[in-house]
């Protein structure tokens, strides 16, 4: 074995400041007892001392395999810059582990426990004192956690980039590592050649600049210098017989007892440290702040601005990390934004209370008008539903499904979905609802990101789960033939779960602060985000709905709109799913609505605009009996997307005694404001721009963060009328947070009263991403999405007002007003669908152009006509203005006029 002392890195490596390189001689431990070893490391301590800046603490950064402290160059330099600009100063100490980077080549085999004690020896030699926040990546994550659990007195926090501390039994280790770990291949790929190194560096997305990749390779030029890379790979404990298994197990167990603040920044496209390991870590550190950088991979430190995130997090948690404030008890961190435990609020009434109360009732609770393969409606009584829910709950619990675990549901709305949802809620399992509106790709990304423990689905959904490699134990709704079950990887059916739960006890229920459900945003503005609701928030949603629309046990609901279809039992009233394909709202007919109303004598009908369009179109088929039934409806709601006054009025004409409402909301806050048809008509006379969505429901609040000249909502939210800005909302049923998107979550609250900690106790606020204004009567007007604001040289312009002007022009069916040109100098362009539709995209006719220009005060540089404007999948109504804008940009640059 060749040994070689530590050395300094060559100069000129991009981004690495040579001033911070140090070599420290460290008395060895374990196999090194009696000898000392030279460590190369980066240390900003002297520089901060020279600048005379007192430090809040130290970040102890540990790289993985096969990288070196070069991985941490951004946090090294940016932390010093931050300190110089007056932000909290954190010293960074980033080591090259022994046999790695430019540290000594010891020639001695160093399994995990040796590496953990090596690091302890190093920090002792450095006389490192607390507070220390560890930062680790890859196997450096494990070593850093080993240090963390052994240094409780100086440990202030832990930060992790893609790593793993546990390997679940029975799961093969990731294929690329399995290959690298096979003995024959090991020597060849990790030591003899640079293949392992090259493969790792190639994971960077986008790929590394050549000189950066060369810098990573710098300490590993020869096979001798690469020997430890092989050692690390061989040190992956594939099973309990491995020499490092015990140490890994010890660390994994101790991590679950850590109560210091924790941050995890993750690249989900990592082929090795996949979401499986993130999920395991999140289970061990449930209070951790987690951010998954969509699209990033293993080298997340290269792929995304992690140093920014780290410094922001340190600043956010400054008092607790630097020891100025005592750590609140474990789990308090995750509940800090949650109002639901508030002792002043109304007492918590769980969602299943409505079921409990009617458990002896034989009247109908849930009806599916068209169960698959049957001609008669399927009716389930309160007694049956309660019984089903209890058995499923007990059965799932017996199968090992626990509070906080996630259950993904790929089931069409109806009595089965209702029973499963309430069973999950009852045991505290978190219901993950991702709908087909996300498209296959979006759905896959959503399900992978949420990392469910269990998937319950119909055959179609399970086929998708199998084909697309979704995680989770699979349960089928129907009993499948053995062969099919095996093919789909299905463990059992719901009937089996019920059987298992018969006579078994139902576990203790979750509380208001426990997570209840994850819904997904439509993904019309970037990848769909998981939105987490806690039990208290869902109960609040039920209560606000009941109070605002006056729902009692006798009301009865007809609903073809997913989240609301599930609330019937919680509201204690019967609910009916009409005969339709719920994933395709346009399949709903007027006759089907009438039949559902007749069946249940329902007083409230909930529909989406796409469904309403077809209901109105098929109204001719209504019989006299149908029409008579519809006269009983007293409230009619259009939800999910904006609806035109005309369409709402046409639908209202079919239900002459109903008041038509169209609430405004979003996945993050399903009910914000509400307006009736009369309200819309009254608003038409107002001079305001945009769509009037009415006034806030119940105790909800809506404020506006005014846009500055640059189009950014920088002002403090206010209730001043007539000011264009981002709508900022607060409601008791507002979402708790985004799932594993700590930075997004932070941004959604930043600058709001709760983000500034200026809010009343328990009050939570959310930036909607919608822009608009308030009027003097407190009505809210929506004028578009924040990213669609056109920042012209004269200031920001929201698109909806001008779109409404343009849509009033004869010959225009639908319009998008978008910007082209550089930010701050954008020019407005109208892109229209015409009547009759144009066959080819291009300039509108001179006559139409003149009419469109004359219709609005906004200067339009061009009017383009297209056969069809692109819309979102879920609602088929939200125009994708970002795409229209990019198309207009290229068309007006003089390129060929391609299809939109």
């Amino acid at each position: 074995m060749v040994t070689e002392g530590a050395s300094l890195p060559p100069s000129g490596l991009p981004g690495l400041d040579p001033r911070f390189s140090r070599i420290l001689r460290v008395p060895g431990r374990g196999v090194d007892a009696g000898v000392s070893r030279e460590w190369h490391h980066l240390d900003t301590g002297d520089e901060l001392a020279r600048l005379g800046i007192p430090t809040a603490g130290t970040i102890l950064a540990v790289h993985g395999n096969p990288t070196w402290s070069y991985l941490w160059r951004s946090i090294v330099s940016e932390s010093v810059r931050a300190a110089e600009s007056g932000r909290p100063a954190w010293r960074v100490v980033a080591v090259d582990q022994l046999d790695m980077g430019f540290s000594e080549r010891t020639g001695v085999h160093r399994p995990l426990h040796q590496r953990v004690s090596d690091l302890a020896a190093f920090t002792e030699a450095l006389a490192l004192e607390g507070p220390v926040v560890t930062l680790g990546h890859d196997w450096g994550g494990v070593v850093s956690l080993g240090w963390a659990v052994d240094h409780g007195t100086s440990l202030a926090g832990v930060m992790l980039l893609n790593t793993a501390i546990h390997h679940p039994e029975g799961v093969p280790i990731p294929a690329p590592l399995r290959l690298a770990g096979a003995w024959g291949v090991l020597a060849a790929s990790t030591v003899g050649t640079t293949a392992f190194l090259d493969t790792t560096l190639a994971l960077a997305t986008p790929s590394l600049d050549r000189d950066v990749a060369d810098a990573y390779r710098a300490p590993y030029r020869t096979a001798e210098r690469r020997r430890a890379i092989g050692g690390f790979v061989a040190d992956i404990p594939v099973d309990a017989r491995h020499e490092s298994f015990g140490e890994l197990d010890r660390i994994a167990g101790a991590v679950a007892r850590l109560d210091v603040p924790a941050l995890m920044l993750w690249g989900p496209n990592d082929p090795i440290f996949s979401d499986r390991y993130l999920d395991d870590l999140a289970d061990r550190l449930p209070h951790a702040d987690v951010h998954r950088f969509e699209g990033a991979s293993h080298l997340v430190a290269e792929d995304r601005p992690y140093a920014d995130a780290v410094l922001t997090w340190l600043e956010d948690n400054g008092e607790r990390l630097s020891g100025l404030a005592p750590s609140p008890p474990r789990a308090a961190a995750s509940a800090r934004r949650t109002s639901t435990g508030s002792p002043d609020g109304p007492p918590f009434v769980p969602l299943w209370r409505g079921l409990d109360e009617r458990r002896e009732d034989d009247s109908v609770a849930v009806v599916d008008m068209a169960p698959r393969g049957k001609s008669e409606p399927r009716r389930v009584s309160w007694r049956q539903l309660d019984d089903r829910v209890r058995k499923l709950a007990a059965g799932l619990h017996r199968m090992g499904v626990r509070k906080g675990q996630r259950v993904s549901l790929l089931v069409q709305p109806g009595p089965t979905l209702t029973a499963v949802v309430y069973a999950c809620l009852r045991i505290g399992a978190v219901v993950v609802v991702a709908d087909a509106g996300l498209g296959v790709k979006g759905l896959t990304r959503a399900v992978r990101g949420a990392w469910p423990h269990v998937v319950i689905g119909e055959a179609l959904g399970l086929t998708a789960a199998r084909t697309l490699g979704w995680p989770g134990l699979r349960i089928s709704t129907a009993r499948l033939p053995r062969v099919a079950a095996v093919a789909l990887g299905v463990e059992c059916s719901l009937a089996d779960v019920i059987e298992l739960g018969t006579g078994a006890p139902v576990p203790a229920p979750p509380g208001p602060g426990d997570e209840a459900a994850i819904l997904f945003t439509s993904g019309s503005t970037g990848p769909a985000k998981g939105v987490v609701y806690r039990h208290g928030q869902l109960s609040a949603l039920r209560d606000v709905l009941a109070a605002h629309f006056d729902v009692t046990s006798e009301t009865g609901l007809v609903t073809g709109f997913a989240p609301f279809a599930l609330l019937g039992p919680a509201l204690g009233t019967r609910s009916v799913t009409p005969d339709m394909d719920v994933s395709a709202p346009r399949t709903l007919t007027a006759s089907a609505v009438a039949a559902a109303v007749r069946e249940s004598d329902a007083r409230i009908v909930f529909l989406s605009p796409a469904a309403i369009l077809n209901v109105v179109a098929t109204a001719d088929a209504l019989t006299t009996t149908d029409r008579a039934a519809l006269t009983h409806v007293r409230t009619f709601l259009s939800t999910g997307a904006p609806i035109g006054e005309q369409l709402l009025a046409s639908a209202a004409a079919l239900m002459p005694n109903a008041t038509p409402h169209t609430p405004y909301g979003m996945t993050e806050c399903l009910l914000v404001t509400d307006v009736t048809l009369d309200g819309i008509r009254a608003a038409a006379a107002a001079p305001d721009r945009g769509v009037c969505v009415g006034t806030p429901i119940g105790s909800n609040r809506v404020l506006v963060a005014a846009l500055d000249a640059d189009g950014r909502p920088t002002a403090a939210p206010s209730d001043e009328a007539g000011v264009l800005g981002e709508l900022v909302v607060s409601a008791p049923h507002l979402k708790d947070h985004y799932d594993r998107l700590w930075l997004t979550d932070r941004a959604a609250e930043n600058g709001t009263p709760s983000g500034n900690r200026g809010a009343a106790a328990g009050e939570r606020w959310h930036r909607t991403g919608d822009v608009g204004h308030l009027d003097a009567d407190g009505r809210v007007w929506v004028e578009g999405r924040l990213p669609h604001v056109i920042v012209t040289a004269d200031g920001p312009v929201a698109p909806v007002g001008a779109e409404q002007d343009v849509e009033g022009v004869e010959g225009v069916r639908r319009a998008a007003v978008v910007g082209v040109g550089p930010h701050g100098l954008r020019q407005a362009v109208a892109v229209v669908e015409t009547v009759p539709p144009t066959s080819r995209p291009g300039l509108a006719t001179p006559e139409l152009t003149a009419a469109v220009r004359a219709s609005t005060a906004l200067p339009l540089v061009a009017v383009l006509a297209v056969p069809q404007l692109p819309t979102d999948i879920r609602h088929n109504s939200k125009i994708d203005r970002s795409r229209v804008s990019m198309w207009a940009e290229s068309t007006l640059a003089g390129g060929k006029t391609g299809a939109l």
Binding site: A793, V820, G821, P822, L825, R826, Q827, G842, L843, P846, T849, P859, V861, A862, L864, E889, T891, L892, A893, G894, G895, K896, T897
Partner: protein, 323 residues
């Protein structure tokens, strides 16, 4: 102040001379033919004539230099001697004569080489990449003029883009003439966004540069109406105003560029009296976006256009109706 305008017999030069007179200046105009501008003292001759140039700058405080060979084709040596040589003679003479302000009227084409321009400012002139003899020599001339900017002589370069209006023989007449002969195609559907300048706005902008030379010297500014339009809209608007049928056919820009290039080459061998129907330069101008960031121009020159595009088209129509 006493101001010398060169090239005042041209469409824009005449408007500038008139604007200077209206502003109360004592205006001399030097060009080969009578300027036709009222209240102006004409000096007839070429900017390539050193003694004439020397004489014409005698006693002036300000110079506005518009005289240039403006053409899409022609003898490269002639472009150079008029555009570069003339500017050198004039700016050096102005310096010696103790003038304090010098406005070099240039063109946005001095800084750009055919790619789409959306909302750009006035970047430094770049003779190496400018397309064609006109743009190349104007680029050299602008750099040369700005090199003479000093504490005593304040030099400002202004670049009006696509100047048009009643009486314009360069742009409007050519468009109208070609449309009338059915030889005006829309390139790529005419969607390229083009900024243009109504002649009165170009004139007030140039005069503003003279007035604000103390604040704006050493810099170049693009001057436009700040109302970009798809080139199709603009051509149709001009045709309708002039009372001719607008273009009805569209050809791919690539074909036009190739054809333009070929024609340009043939033309340079056999120069004639007429322009080639479509040169490469024009093809690029009419098929790629050309619109500009006007914020610095409006701020530094303390100027805004007074005639909107629509109003300009109305005036054009009125002029065509009376012509």
């Amino acid at each position: 102040m006493i101001v010398l305008v060169t090239g005042a017999s041209g469409f824009l030069g005449r408007a500038v001379a008139a604007e200077l007179v209206a502003a109360g200046h004592d205006v001399r105009a030097m060009q080969r033919r009578p300027s036709g501008a009222a209240g102006v003292t004409d000096i007839l001759g070429s900017v390539t004539d050193p003694s004439l140039v020397e004489r014409s700058v005698d006693g002036v405080e300000g110079v506005v230099h518009l005289a240039a060979k403006v053409s899409l084709a022609g003898d490269p040596r002639e472009f150079r001697s008029v555009n570069v040589g003339g500017t050198r003679l004039l700016v050096e003479a102005a310096e010696r004569a103790g003038a304090s302000r010098f406005v070099q009227v240039s063109s946005p084409s001095v800084a750009h080489a055919g790619s789409a321009l959306a909302g750009v400012g006035a970047e430094r002139a770049d003779p190496e990449h400018a397309r064609g003899d006109y743009a190349r020599t104007k680029a050299e001339a602008e750099l040369l003029a700005l090199d003479h900017d000093s504490d005593t002589l304040r030099v400002v370069a202004v670049r009006p883009h696509l100047v048009w209006g009643p009486g314009d023989t360069q742009l409007v007449d050519r468009i109208v003439d070609r449309a009338r002969r059915g030889r005006l195609p829309l390139l790529d559907g005419g969607t390229a966004l083009i900024d243009s300048t109504y002649v009165d706005n170009a004139a007030t902008g140039i005069v503003a540069a003279l007035h604000r030379a103390e604040e704006a010297h050493g810099n170049a500014y693009v001057i436009t109406n700040g109302e970009p339009r798809p080139v199709g809209d603009l051509l149709v608007g001009i045709c309708l105003a002039a009372g001719v049928a607008p273009p009805r056919w569209s050809i791919p820009a690539g074909v036009a560029r190739a054809a333009g290039s070929a024609i340009e080459r043939i033309w340079s061998i056999r120069p004639g009296s007429d322009e080639p129907p479509m040169t490469r330069f024009l093809a690029e101008q009419l098929s790629t976006a050309h619109w500009f960031d006007q914020r610095a121009t409006r701020r530094d020159l303390d100027w805004t256009p007074t005639v909107s595009l629509d109003e300009g088209l109305r005036r054009l129509a009125a002029y065509a109706g009376t012509a």
